[in-house]
């Protein structure tokens, strides 16, 4: 068994990163020109990594399956990005951001990585402002902040409900600058099909040109996987339609351990499912919980009347409403972390208090916020004894300035006006904390293969706090990987160009081609989406918001059966040498059908509840998650052995020196 070495530097937690940077090997500028790096994915992690590596002098080849790097799904992130700037003077610090993130992750993340994340967070904001990212500002011209779930300070920087877009366009513009200089060669509409190993090291990839179908070989001295998370294993999620796990899964099958696959985040505030035709779910930013109050009716008969359309939610009296988050968690109220808020919504809906036709929705209500803001505005404008209408109008104006684009999006999708009636929301799959296992340097267990951003497992433990994904993606890409990769590449300054005319590349190319041929030759009766939808149902029902051993075992068997059926009955029209969207989906779903089983295996192995992983067998009498630190304070890292259900578990024991491990309470 390989020993898992996280390569955490020596020294006190606040000195580790500085010391490490001072002692790792460097590559001099002249030699960087001799080294090629492949970056797969151009979201916040990939875009920032590609731009930074190119600025430093490496030759970068960047790949994305979209028609432009600007379309990566980081663009859809709404709420904001955390940084320990303490501009609001509310007592924030690097340590507090670190502590909140560790606690938010339910003490299942690696302390040294999280501290580093908090440490570099402040540089991210400086960097983005310097790039021209138009963050929200106050009237004095300084940057504005807001608060997010699971914390008690305002440290979130934002650009309306489009923070991800603005940050990604920042990274895209930095990439564009390097593309114009020839330091990045950009491969749009290309999908990575496999990683190529030479003498045990990652030395390139096989990619498919999605326009022509051509299978291409690309060599490099290192390969960086920044291809995002695997939420689409659930079919319905807030991920983009094209978001997929294939790059991660392919490196896993070639030797990279997969970390904590069962840790998935179900986001509490999404637009509920409307019907069978549904292709994806839409998030309503967590920032809405700053001002929105979540409730269901107190009485079942009222819930029933609302479901049938006989009672309007606005007509239900205050005393007949159950603001269940404020009731259960008085100190954090509506701003409890995502896992807690999601489970609480499920609990109420399962108990029969759901408020839409399917019974799977709760209210997110802005009426109180509109009144509160309206009164303040009236004072600001010197209106004495304002009428209720005036207050409401002014209040709506404030709410619109904060969340206008989100309200507009909600209305387009649901045909309901959230200024007049409460939004209906329900939890949906949003993010995956698990991912490829990496050491402190972000290197996977394949030498020369790195993973950044959502694709790796490293910083969020069992639950990610809001506004931390953008922070991690940019931290990895701008400020961590560009340094740590030099330590590895310093041995490659005399290697010379990596030839793709070798048996290893040929074998990998043939493997990809034969797998595509096999898929096309099945000529079965059912579409790719048919199988994907069924996989999603298994995962959502049995490996979703709450899990138990019996269901998980059944899910594993069901997934294996579905996988067999897929490989004997899928129908893919067209051929391999053209643009073929069905074939693209099929290659991705084939991987989801394996990964899903590994997720269930991990959920079954982990006999405790932690963060997003809630095992019904392990809960307190009040229904809160019950961790088992004695037996499960480790990262699960799985080694592929040919069968996803029989992956070998390696454990990275988690040591906590800077924080005291406690029961996580938001009461």
């Amino acid at each position: 068994m390989t020993k898992l070495d996280a390569k955490i530097p020596e020294g006190p937690i606040d000195k580790k990163w500085t010391n490490h940077k001072n002692t790792i090997k460097l590559v001099n500028p002249a030699n960087k020109r001799l080294i090629d790096v492949i970056v797969v994915g151009t979201g916040l992690a990939g875009g920032s990594a590609a731009a930074s590596l190119a600025e430093m002098g490496y030759n970068v080849k960047a790949f994305c399956f979209q028609d432009s790097p600007r379309r990566a799904h980081s663009i859809a992130a709404q709420g904001g990005i955390n940084a320990a700037k303490n501009y609001q003077n509310d007592g924030d610090s690097v340590y507090r951001l670190f502590y909140d993130t560790i606690k938010g992750g339910d003490y299942r993340s690696r302390e040294a990585n999280v501290y580093r994340l908090a440490e570099v967070s402040t540089s991210i904001i400086d960097q983005c402002v310097a790039q021209g990212v138009p963050f929200a500002r106050e009237y004095g011209g300084l940057l504005d902040n807001r608060s997010f779930g699971g914390v008690q300070v305002s440290r979130t920087f934002y650009a309306k409900g489009q923070t991800g877009q603005q940050l990604l366009l920042g990274a895209y513009s930095a990439m564009s600058r390097q593309i114009s200089k020839g330091k990045i060669t950009m491969y749009n509409r290309h999908e990575m099909m496999d990683v190529v190993k030479v003498d045990g090291k990652a030395r390139g990839i096989i990619a498919r040109n999605l326009v022509t179908g051509e299978i291409e070989r690309h060599g490099a001295h290192a390969v960086v996987i920044c291809s995002g998370g695997y939420g689409n294993v659930f079919f319905l999620s807030t991920n983009a339609m094209g978001s997929n796990a294939s790059a991660s899964w392919k490196v896993h099958k070639k030797g990279a351990y997969f970390g904590n696959p069962s840790y998935t985040q179900i986001h509490p505030t999404c637009i509920p499912v409307s019907g069978e035709h549904q292709s994806k779910l839409t998030l309503m930013s967590e920032s809405l919980r700053n001002d929105g109050r979540i409730w269901v009716p107190k009485k079942k008969e009222d819930a029933e009347a609302i479901r049938q359309g006989k009672l309007k939610p606005v007509d239900l009296k205050e005393e007949d409403r159950d603001y269940y988050l404020e009731r259960r968690y008085p100190s954090f109220g509506n701003l409890v972390p995502r896992d807690v808020a999601s489970r609480a919504a499920k609990e109420r809906c399962d108990a029969g208090f759901g408020v839409n036709k399917t019974g799977e929705a709760v209210f997110l209500d802005f009426a109180a916020a509109i009144q509160r803001y309206g009164k303040t505005e009236a004072k600001v404008h010197g209106i004495e004894n304002p009428s209720k209408e005036e207050i409401t109008k002014l209040g709506k104006g404030v709410v619109e300035s904060k969340y206008g684009n989100l309200f507009e999006m909600y209305e387009k999708i649901t045909d309901d006006n959230p200024y007049e009636t409460p939004m209906k929301i329900y939890p949906a799959v949003h993010y995956t904390m698990g991912g490829i296992w990496v050491d402190y340097n972000l290197m996977t267990t394949i030498p020369g293969c790195y993973a950044c951003g959502e694709a790796n497992f490293s910083d969020h433990g069992a639950n990610r706090l809001g506004a931390s994904a953008l922070m991690q993606g940019l931290a990895d890409g701008y400020f961590v990987l560009p340094y740590t990769i030099g330590d590895y590449l310093s041995d490659d300054i005399r290697t010379g160009e990596i030839s793709t005319d070798t048996p290893e590349f040929e074998a990998a190319e043939n493997e990809v081609k034969s797998s595509i041929d096999k898929l096309l030759s099945i000529k079965g009766t059912k579409t790719v989406d048919h199988f994907h939808r069924r996989l999603g149902k298994i995962m959502w029902n049995q490996c979703g918001m709450s899990r138990n051993a019996e269901d998980l075992k059944k899910a594993m068997a069901d997934i294996r059966a579905l996988r067999d059926e897929f490989w004997s009955d899928v129908k893919i029209p067209g051929d391999a040498n053209e643009m073929n969207a069905e074939l693209e989906k099929a290659t991705r779903v084939a991987d989801f059908l394996e990964l899903g089983e590994l997720m269930c295996l991990d959920a079954l192995d982990r006999n405790e509840s932690a963060g997003g992983h809630f095992r019904e067998e392990y809960q307190t009498p009040e229904g809160e998650a019950l961790r088992d630190d004695e037996n499960f304070s480790f990262v699960s890292a799985y080694e592929f052995t040919g069968d996803p259900g029989k992956a070998v578990l390696h454990k990275e024991q988690l040591e906590f020196e800077a924080v005291e491990v406690k029961t996580r309470s938001y009461k």
Binding site: S52, G140, P573
Partner: protein, 250 residues
């Protein structure tokens, strides 16, 4: 609802395309336009026919991938809405809907409704950035206050999703709204002002090189823009361009 679709089908860039007719039935008004096409595509696959190729990804109106020309309008009949956010409740039972790709010389068709918009990327590569390296040692983010009004205007310009609706809507296939949005964003902020002259010259030159047409200020782009990018940006870009060319030293 039951509908008739007339869809542009084109096997590849060099092949001649034509409109094909497809009936679709049992369409729910809650479906998005693309979900309606998903249903049709699944039926086509089941029948052994080639599904209709179209670009799409986030399906929440922000990535800019989707780009259908529906009944003569980019992104269809609803203003300030991308194709993916258009819902079938905007149509009536029995309607015939025409679906074409965004057409422009600088957006060649790849297949069916999919076009190549990499010309937009090349315009950004010509100067749509601030030349600052990611050292982490830049100024503190609050070192230069930016008036809220300027920051808000820069943000409004920066919300462009690069979908190309402005080009598709324009009778001249001009990309002025797209280019001016980026020029405006960066010229309104102190961080981008330093390179303003060179930026606008280079981006405009690249825009012309890509084969986009000239602007004759019909305003169609602003009307069809799903993000409501304002024509004011074009005016601002024209000022920036003039300034850059009368004081070329800057």
């Amino acid at each position: 609802m039951n509908l008739t679709l007339k869809v542009w089908r084109q096997k590849g860039p060099e092949v001649k395309g034509k409109m094909e007719t497809y009936p679709v039935s049992d369409v729910s008004p809650d479906m998005s336009f693309l979900e309606m096409l998903d249903v049709l595509n699944e039926e086509l696959v089941e029948k052994g026919e080639e599904p209709i190729a179209f670009d799409h990804d986030c399906r929440e109106g922000i990535c800019g991938s989707c780009n259908l020309f529906i009944d003569g309008e980019p992104h269809g009949p609803m203003n300030r809405t991308t194709t993916c956010q258009l819902h079938m409740r905007s149509f009536k039972d029995g309607d015939t809907i025409h679906i074409e790709p965004f057409r422009a010389k600088a957006f060649p068709v790849i297949k069916d409704l999919v076009v190549d918009r990499s010309s937009f990327d090349r315009v950004i590569q010509a100067g749509g950035y601030v030349s600052v390296n990611t050292s982490g040692n830049t100024l503190d983010a609050n070192a230069i206050p930016v008036p809220k009004e300027d920051a808000d205007m820069a943000f409004d310009a920066a919300t462009c999703i690069g979908c190309g609706a402005c080009v598709a809507a324009c009778k001249n296939a001009s990309a002025m709204l797209f280019v001016s949005a980026k020029v405006s964003q960066l010229s309104l902020l102190p961080q981008g002002e330093v390179e303003a002259s060179e930026r606008v010259r280079n981006m405009v030159a690249q825009m012309d090189k890509e084969g986009f047409g000239n602007c004759s200020v019909t305003g169609a782009c602003e009307v069809e823009c799903p993000k409501g990018i304002s024509l004011e940006n074009i005016a601002r870009m024209n000022r920036e361009y003039l300034k850059a060319n009368v004081s070329p030293g800057k």
